[in-house]
């Protein structure tokens, strides 16, 4: 009798557990980790990407694929990025991770997810080495070598520049990547790099470096850095009467740059992922789905989306798209979606229509897509051109 009752209890429990797991599988198709710098010095970029992801989730909430999101903060440091990735994989058991917008942190996180064989998609980490030689790491943005090459060619062909000085952020892999590629391409095209000057993210004054620029009078001053330092650099360059054309990368592309640099930013030319035209701009009618995104974003957050918001949005849609396709191949509803399947699908991603361009993954897991060149004009940007990779 005693044995009997314990058996009944066991059965009841087993069936409850089975039922619970079953409904769980029905409710959620996959778990997606989101690992971003939500506090710390790079929190701005992380929050923008998060806004983009949230907007995409809202739009896709009616679809028949249900994804559960687990968010972790990296505090803008590589150490916390690695810890956060570890937690997402071992304790939250996510199937795929959208991780980090800052290259140095993405590199740290990628080493963990590669080892655990969990695919990771970075919205905006542009340093070449993030995906290099990795089987499970992908990204939505183009890479530094492309960005540096594009700007060097633009300076040579369109601005007829003969010489340049590079002002490099020695604390950032991103800045070094852009700087090296700009240098090699500019020199290959027959230009002269007068000097590569360096600064640190801790610096609050850049007068010593800019004094050098002032004496050398280069055609181009290339500053591939982040807005906190670039803003001060631009202001000081204006104070010193430096007339060189200032070029930069996507690290400039935030509203905060203008609030620090004020009108010193005007005339600056950058390469970036995405252009958010407002309705007054004639270029906005060209791309209707970009306009739809910008309008939806403005309605939700009362601000213009930055490149990081657009990349976050595209990243989530890519993951959603990939999982929808895998789910369609499943015959039985109880079949779960594995990380391995997501990884295979990401590698084969082709002609995905994102708002940052049409994305096809190359064999190194980097998307083949165009870069946008923008000029800062008072109160806005002027779209100059969009350059495709050869």
């Amino acid at each position: 009798m005693k044995l009997q009752s314990s058996k009944i209890i066991t059965y009841t429990f087993t069936s409850i557990i089975a039922f619970a797991t079953n409904t769980h599988a029905l409710a959620t198709d996959a778990k997606v980790g989101v690992l971003l710098p939500l506090t710390g010095s790079q929190a701005f970029y992380g929050k923008e990407a998060k806004n983009g992801i949230d907007l995409a989730r809202q739009e896709l909430s009616a679809s028949n694929v249900d994804l559960k999101i687990v968010v972790e903060d990296t505090q803008s440091t590589p150490i916390e990025a690695a810890k956060g990735m570890n937690k997402l994989i071992t304790s939250d058991r996510v199937n795929v991770v959208i991780a980090e917008v800052i290259s140095s942190n993405a590199i740290a996180a990628a080493s963990i997810s590669e080892k655990a064989k969990i695919p990771m998609l970075s919205p905006a980490a542009t340093n070449d080495s993030v995906t290099l030689g990795k089987k499970y790491i992908y990204r939505t943005c183009f890479i530094d070598s492309f960005q540096g090459v594009v700007m060097a060619k633009y300076a040579k062909d369109h601005l007829n520049a003969k010489n340049a000085i590079i002002l490099e952020d020695s604390d950032s892999d991103y800045s070094k990547g852009l700087s090296n590629n700009f240098k090699s391409t500019f020199e290959k095209e027959g230009g002269k790099i007068i000097k590569v000057l360096k600064y640190s993210q801790k610096d609050t004054s850049f007068t010593s470096q800019l004094g050098d620029v002032r004496r050398s009078k280069p055609d181009i001053l290339y500053i591939p850095g982040f807005h906190q330092q670039v803003g001060v650099i631009l202001r000081e360059a204006q104070d010193l009467g430096i007339k060189s054309i200032k070029l930069g990368g996507d690290g400039w592309y935030t509203p905060d740059l203008r609030s620090i640099a004020k009108d010193a930013v005007n005339g600056g030319i950058i390469s970036t992922h995405f252009y958010s035209p407002d309705s007054k701009d004639p270029a906005s009618s060209v791309n209707t789905h970009v306009k739809a995104f910008v309008d939806a974003y403005q309605a939700e957050y009362k601000a213009m989306p930055s490149a990081h918001a657009a990349l976050g949005y595209d990243s989530y849609k890519i993951i959603h798209n990939v999982i929808t396709e895998i789910k369609a191949t499943k015959t039985k509803k109880s079949e779960t979606i594995s990380s391995e399947e997501i990884n295979n699908a990401l590698g084969k991603l082709k002609n995905f229509k994102g708002i940052t361009g049409t994305i096809t993954m190359d064999q190194n897991h980097n998307p083949i897509k165009p870069a946008v060149i923008l000029e800062y004009i008072p109160n806005g940007y002027k779209f100059i051109t969009s350059i495709n990779p050869q």
């Binding site: 506090t39 710390g40 010095s41 929190a43 701005f44 020695s170 000097k195 000057l197 360096k198 600064y199 640190s200 801790k202 610096d203 609050t204 004054s205 007068t207 010593s208 470096q209 004094g211 050098d212 002032r214 004496r215 906190q228 803003g231 001060v232 202001r235 000081e236 104070d239 010193l240 009467g241 905060d256 609030s259 620090i260 004020k262």
Partner: protein
């Protein structure tokens, strides 16, 4: 030669800020033989308070005055609450507490004002005047003059007033000064207050010059100023000013000779060298410690 002269000019402004912060380290050390590692955070707090009062609509001079008073008071409270109870314990105890206070202040500001950098409402334009190839910012001349003026006024205060004499007496010999009727606790508080005021001035200048403030701005500035204070001879006002300027100019030289990567490490190389070769610093006097 041109690079060399320009580097000296460029280094003076940042050196002046180091000097203003270094004076606070130096005075507190002179009086209590204790390094107040939370001092860099007073520099940061000063900038945040000025910004807060400005956004509340106060004119600049009122904002600065209120910020001086508030941060000065905070410094005095920190001393009373966190350091005073530990005065009789080992020398290490208040030092560890100071690090804790420093972390506490950094994080409370991150919680209250977000970890992002904020744009400062009022700016000093950075116009330059040129002498041939050389150039100097008018702003930097102002910062340098203000630093010298404040250091001069402080010396005047220390040598010409009763309270100032009290501070010097305390620095010379704590027990003997007590016997002569110097109020110990009040004098220590005054020292912290003065140090805080100078840090607030430095923080406000940096905010207005760079147009941005952030919660961790005191970390680097504080460490550099500490190195400057040791270099000049900790406990000496003139030493702190000299140390700040020497450090600022050396850093600027490293940058102009293409060694900017080593710039931040340089302050600590100086710190180690000074402690090894001349622990009392450039202007410091060797003291006989009688047992």
């Amino acid at each position: 030669m041109l690079d060399f002269t320009q580097a000296i000019i460029d280094g003076i402004a940042i050196g002046s800020l180091y000097a203003l912060i270094a004076i606070g380290y130096s005075m507190v050390f002179g009086v209590l033989q204790f390094v107040n590692f939370a001092h860099g955070e007073l520099f940061m707090l000063g900038a945040y308070f000025v910004m807060l009062f400005l956004t509340l609509g106060a004119p600049l001079w009122v904002a600065i005055l209120f910020s001086l008073l508030s941060v000065g008071t905070i410094a005095v409270v920190i001393e009373r609450v966190a350091y005073k109870p530990l005065r009789k314990h080992s020398r290490l105890a208040p030092l560890i507490t100071a690090v804790a206070i420093s972390l506490f202040l950094q994080n409370i500001i991150q919680v209250l004002f977000s970890p992002n950098s904020l744009s400062f409402p009022i700016n000093i334009p950075g116009n330059i005047i040129t002498f041939g190839e050389l150039f100097v910012r008018i702003r930097d001349i102002g910062i340098f003059s203000l630093t010298l003026l404040l250091a001069f006024l402080l010396e005047l205060f220390l040598f010409k007033t009763k309270a100032g004499t009290g501070i010097r007496a305390l620095a010379m010999h704590a027990d003997a000064s007590r016997l002569c009727g110097v109020p110990f606790n009040r004098t220590v508080s005054l020292t912290f207050f003065i140090g805080a005021i100078l840090a607030v001035v430095a923080g406000t200048i940096q905010g207005m010059a760079t147009n941005q403030i952030f919660p961790l701005m005191g970390v680097n500035a504080g460490l550099k100023a500490f190195a400057a204070a040791v270099l000049g001879g900790i406990g000496e006002i003139r030493g702190a000013v000299l140390g700040g300027l020497v450090l600022g100019i050396s850093e600027s030289m490293l940058v102009s000779y293409g060694l900017s990567t080593y710039k931040d490490g340089f302050a600590f190389v100086i710190l180690i060298l000074v402690l090894l070769i001349r622990p009392q610093g450039i202007l410091g006097r060797t003291q006989l410690v009688k047992v």
